[in-house]
């Protein structure tokens, strides 16, 4: 399915700090993500997954190596990304709805159309909120939401402008299993419809296998890619799929590889 590489990382490494403070967070990662591919990244806590996300979107310049998106070398933040950061960073001065609509105020073509088509966009935001179970919470401020509700809003904000590249950093970590599985379904549905390119960081291997075409396993800090596993299960996957032996096998395979990291 994946064809032309959309995102390419060649021997990318990143070190935070300088001098004695210097710490290599990501070591020598080479990744190639095709257009329309759904990638999942798993690995131990603190191994550099969030760092990787920031590198891909150009928020951080790599210490060495090269990153290119759509064939172009990344030197600054790239366009057309929807990113759900690990911390929800909702703006406390905006209501949940206004927070979610923030990308529409910044990203073209929505930015130009927002003024005239406000009602339509508000409806879209409300529909999105309702789909993650936050119907009726649009007028609440972020601090009036529970942790899980904030996280869901965060995901909505990454989705609303229908980005071509979607970066999700542990988007469902604070949710109960059922809400989470519901959102897997919604996410897969969206992907099947729009075929955006997605990078998902998660600690839930079932989540990774359910959603991804390819799962990258990272080593302990400094994170290197230690395993790339293609998930060739047919789409759409359902909760039943997660109980099939093929699915369970992949999960186990990944699990064992990560355990190796941990045993070290």
């Amino acid at each position: 399915m994946p064809s032309t590489p959309l995102v390419e990382l060649k021997n990318v490494s990143l070190a935070y700090g300088e001098g004695s403070e210097r710490m290599v967070a990501l070591g020598d990662a080479t990744i190639s993500i095709a257009d329309g591919e759904f990638v999942a990244v798993v690995g131990p806590s603190g191994c550099g997954k969030s760092t990787l996300m920031k590198l891909v979107t150009g928020l951080l310049p790599p210490t060495s190596g090269e990153i290119s998106v759509r064939g172009q070398r990344v030197t600054g933040p790239i366009k057309g990304v929807g990113m759900a950061f690990q911390n929800a960073t909702l703006m406390p001065w905006r209501t949940t709805r206004d927070n979610i609509m923030l990308p529409l105020e910044v990203v073209q073509p929505h930015k130009g159309r927002l003024r005239a088509n406000r009602a339509e966009y508000v409806a879209r935001a409300d529909a999105l909120l309702a789909s993650v179970g936050l119907g009726g919470f649009g007028d609440k401020y972020p601090w009036q939401l529970s942790g899980g509700m904030q996280q869901r809003s965060n995901v909505c904000r990454a989705l609303i402008h229908e980005p071509q590249i979607l970066m999700l950093d542990e988007p469902f970590g604070a949710l109960d299993a059922f809400t989470r599985e519901e959102l897997w379904g919604i996410m897969q549905q969206l992907w099947l419809e729009r075929r955006f390119t997605a990078v998902l960081v998660t600690h839930d291997l079932r989540e990774a296998v359910y959603l991804a075409d390819t799962v990258y396993v990272m080593s302990k800090r400094p994170g290197r890619i230690v395993k790339v596993r293609t998930v060739d299960l047919p789409r759409p996957r359902t909760l039943e799929t997660t109980f099939t032996p093929a699915f369970v096998d992949i999960v186990h395979e990944l699990r064992e590889r990560i355990q190796l990291e941990h045993a070290e």
């Binding site: 920031k54 979107t57 928020l59 933040p77 790239i78 366009k79 057309g80 990304v81 990113m83 950061f85 911390n87 960073t89 703006m91 406390p92 001065w93 905006r94 923030l102 990308p103 105020e105 910044v106 990203v107 401020y141 601090w143 402008h161 970066m167």
Partner: protein, 258 residues
Amino acid sequence: MTALQQRYLRFAMPWLALLVLLIMWQVACIAFDVPEIVAPRPTRVVEVIIQRWDLLLRFCMETLWTTLIGFFLAIGFGLLLGLAIGASPFVYSGLYPLLIAFNAIPKVAIVPILMIWVGIGALPAIITAFVISFFPIVVNVATGLATIEPEMRDLMRSLGASNREILMKVGIPRAMPYLFASLKVAATLAFVGSVLSETVGGNRGIGFLMLSASARNDSATTFAGLFAIAIMGIGVYAACALIEKRMTRWAFRGELVR
């Protein structure tokens, strides 16, 4: 104490505090037999205020509108310059020291020069009010901007927002609590500025009233002028506080004691 009683007390507090102050002042005047020319008794000042009500009001209005114009100019330019300083390290390092230098200079020393340039009347008062009050706004807005959480900035940058957009969508709202803090200071300084200019030249406003009164040792009237400024200052502060409450509620959701 019930919550309602507490609320009443909070409303009453400023008046209580004022009353206590005035009574203490009155008692001190009587006890130490302070001559009126040094510090008149509050009762005397109030008497004068009641007597010369119309006159005071006229002078107050003159001062008030020049002050407000200067103050609004200060908000506008202060916000702009604060944004520029907060957003650009070059503007910061180039302009900040000059601003500091300019602000350390007592304005009394330059108002006469200003008057030579622009003449006498409302204009120098407006300019002085502006010049004296815009610095705190600049400093606070710049600090508000500089303390933006990098997470917010990253979020905006990931959306491809320009620096201008980051400023508008994150910078300005984030700087609001700082801005309003500075407005309280700036409003009082604006009054100081316009009254100062009125004393240096012109025959308008509370500044002139006080100068003319003090030139004839009429200290009760001088103090009536001071009272008038104080009351106007509180008025402008109250307006700022009201707007602050409506605009930055999000920042104050965690007041230390509710």
